[in-house]
């Protein structure tokens, strides 16, 4: 029981410290979390307006379609990337015996999950101000989708940062995987609109399924019949299982440094 309490103390302390190092570096610290997804959305909204082509399916606005795609994707990427460097950038803290590598990751996951929820709320609130009050299908489904992308990011980040203890090549593979996921997450077109072969290939990507779930929750007319909750959840469990196993093995290797 005392062990659990100590671990809670450690994670709490790390969480406060992470908040300060992540957002406290400049006066506009919190704003910086907002800038990357906003830039992407602005860029693609501009492109689609310029070409005058409607990317979004009927019953959805272009902006709404982009927000519900890019915000969850960027939540996934940000969570995974922050977790990937959780051990590397806090190695010095492992000097204190009660701080375990896993705690460093857990603290970052909690901070990212909170950031993701706030960002999603801000973007959706902004959208509502701009386009008038939305007719949300199911807020619960939106949150489920967001929770799943955060979980995917966290479990992938945990697995990769534990593997990175053994080989830094993991970081390069990671950035390739991120790019692959970016182009196969159906950010700019609904999965339903694709030819069957492409659609089936795309649905192997769990992030694409989560984004479909978010959109299904947001737009009453959206059709996400090809996605389900269990597929991304299975990915999360498998990656978390291997991530936790590798983290245990990596502990010994880390302490020598």
């Amino acid at each position: 029981m005392r062990g659990v309490l100590t671990q809670l103390q450690v994670v709490h302390a790390l969480l406060l410290r992470e908040t300060k190092t992540r957002f406290g570096a400049s006066h506009l610290g919190y704003v910086w979390a907002f800038v990357p997804p906003a830039t992407w959305i602005g860029m693609f909204a501009g492109v689609s307006a310029f070409f005058g082509r409607r990317l979004a399916p009927p019953g959805t606005s272009v902006l709404g379609f982009l927000v519900t795609g890019i915000v969850p994707f960027s939540a996934f990427r940000e969570t995974a990337t922050r977790c990937l460097y959780a051990i590397e950038s806090n190695k010095g803290l492992l000097f204190y015996p009660q701080v375990r590598p896993l705690d460093l990751v857990i603290a970052r996951v909690i901070l990212e999950a909170a950031t993701n929820v706030v960002l999603m709320a801000l973007f959706m609130g902004g959208l509502a101000l701009y386009e008038g009050p939305p007719r949300i299908n199911s807020l619960f489904e939106v949150l489920i989708g967001l929770g799943l992308v955060t979980g995917l990011g966290a479990s992938l980040g945990l697995l990769c940062c534990s593997l990175a203890v053994y080989s830094r090549t993991v970081e390069r593979v990671f950035s390739v995987v991120m790019r692959l996921i970016f182009w196969t997450s159906a950010l700019f077109h609904p999965v339903e609109s694709l030819p069957k072969a492409a659609r089936n290939a795309l649905l192997f990507n769990p992030v694409a399924q989560c984004i479909e779930i978010v959109r299904d929750g947001w737009f009453p007319s959206y059709d996400a019949r090809h996605s389900d909750v269990w597929y991304p959840l299975a990915w999360i469990l498998v990656m978390a299982f291997f991530g936790l196993s590798v983290e245990r093995m990596a502990r010994r290797r880390l302490e020598v440094a």
Partner: protein
């Protein structure tokens, strides 16, 4: 009280295994200052880190009764972008100590002035060491583990450190590793020597010294 049971530790080198500790069994009594002498590379810092729990032995067990400090003298446990004060708050939190008390004591002890509220990366190595030492004194431990090799400071500051330990000697113990006999003599009632992977204990510092000298 800290008990070591059959502690072994080896590091892999390109020439094969380098055995640093070879099934060391020892018991450090409570409220007793013990010095551990050893040449460079004899394994004394490794031993200290294993006692602290920063590092794990390849085999064997460490039983700690009471709160044991981290190896004091180390200055890398600070995050450079945070101020001395923020670092103190973090450490106080992970040890479940009273934050204001720890911050107040450390600010007073480390004598950093305004620097206490500036990022640690702007500190000199002496300032970092003073912060590290002040912080470790601010938290109540039953055993303080000190790695003398890395604990620096001028004569006046080391006198201050000595007094701080003396003030605690009624209820805490100090385990200090060093390669200098005079440090050990200053602090410790008993003395042990790390040699060839074994820990040999002596009742007086002088006895230990003759063994230590003979070892060289």
């Amino acid at each position: 009280m800290i008990e070591l049971e059959q502690i072994s530790k080896a590091y892999a080198t390109h020439k094969g295994k380098n055995v640093v500790l070879d099934s060391v069994t020892f018991s450090f009594p409570a409220r007793t200052n013990i010095g551990i002498l050893g040449k460079n590379g004899a394994g004394k810092s490794t031993l200290l880190r294993i006692i602290a729990g920063t590092e794990h032995a390849d085999s064997g067990q460490v039983r700690r009764h009471g709160a044991v400090s981290w190896p004091i003298g180390f200055t890398g446990g600070f995050s450079g972008s945070l101020s001395g004060e923020e670092n103190c708050r973090f450490v106080a939190r992970i040890y479940g100590a009273d934050i204001d008390e720890v911050v107040g004591f450390t600010a007073d002890f480390a004598e950093l002035g305004e620097y206490f509220y500036m990022p640690v990366q702007t500190y000199s190595s002496g300032m970092r060491a003073r912060l590290a030492f002040g912080l470790s004194m601010a938290i109540e431990f039953d055993a303080y583990l000190v790695d003398e090799v890395t604990a620096v400071g001028d004569a006046r500051f080391s006198e201050k450190c000595r007094k701080a330990f003396l003030a605690r000697s009624g209820h805490s113990s100090v385990i200090i590793v060093s390669h200098s006999l005079s440090t050990v003599k200053d602090y410790c009632e008993r003395c042990a020597v790390v040699k060839n992977g074994k820990l040999v204990c002596f009742d007086s510092v002088d006895e230990a010294n003759s063994f230590y000298e003979a070892a060289s």
